[in-house]
């Protein structure tokens, strides 16, 4: 079978990260796990509104729910984040390797007239 969902997972991750509130929620969870109520507090948002964001984050695998008696705290899951940043980083790296060579070439081309003069003298 084909790697099922590498690209679908990335879509979900990027969609989830495209919203500032969701990024703030993740930043909050990076410090410590938190319940829906605790998460709603600093965002001046209704609980249903926060729950909606949490569902998007959950679908992207960016958070998980643990069971702690009555509390169901949300936890940050780092793996999709690593995958998403690897995607961009690796892509950037590929280009940057080419562009570093292009830098050197451009510098060489700009120095060429000077080289010729040096040869003459």
């Amino acid at each position: 079978m084909k790697e099922p969902a590498a690209s679908e997972r990335l879509d979900a991750t990027f969609l989830a990260l495209a919203d500032p509130t969701r990024r703030a929620i993740l930043a909050r969870l990076a410090r410590k796990e938190a319940s829906v109520n605790e998460l709603a507090e600093p965002f001046a948002m209704s609980q249903p509104a926060v729950s909606k964001h949490l569902r998007v984050l959950e679908r992207a695998g960016l958070i998980s729910v643990s069971q702690d008696g009555q509390r169901r705290p949300r936890r940050l899951e780092v793996r999709p984040l690593v995958e998403a940043s690897a995607w961009i980083e690796r892509y950037r790296d590929l280009w940057e390797q080419n562009y570093t060579r292009l830098d050197a070439l451009l510098q060489e081309l700009q120095e060429q007239p000077a080289k010729r003069t040096r040869k003459k003298s």
Binding site: A6, R92, N98, L106, L109
Partner: protein
Amino acid sequence: MTTTHTAQVSTPSDREVKVTRAFRAPRALVYRAYTEPALVQRWLLGPPGWTMPVCEMDVRVGGKYRWRWRSNEDQTEFGFSGVFREVEPGRKLVHTETYDAGSHAVGESGAESLVTVLFEEQDGITTLTSLMDFGSKEARDAAVATGMTDGIEQSYQLLDKLLAEPR
């Protein structure tokens, strides 16, 4: 002054990827390095261990190009080819780009994108912008993921190590 201008990658829409990079050189020179095959072959090489044995470019509207890379390690090859749709010398290129997985056999052959390349100069610094439109989100993600599995795997290994560390 040694300002570094590393490449910036963004996703302006869910079917596109944009890469921008500034070069300390005049626009006309960057354009030359981008369109003269003998020069292109010296920098458009991708990861270490690859050479570009084939670089043919007929840079005019309707003109074709063909790029092919070969791995020093196992001699496998892959390439891109396409047609120039717009040519504004020194300023802008628009070309199609069709992927051929060749004997390297990574990713799917036939995937086509439309690439717009802009050359903009300010105060002796030329900004090169490549906007790649893959037609759909699925095609974009597949194209970008091609050849990048190593990177993701490396990240996973780093992550595994990190997670294994005692807290």
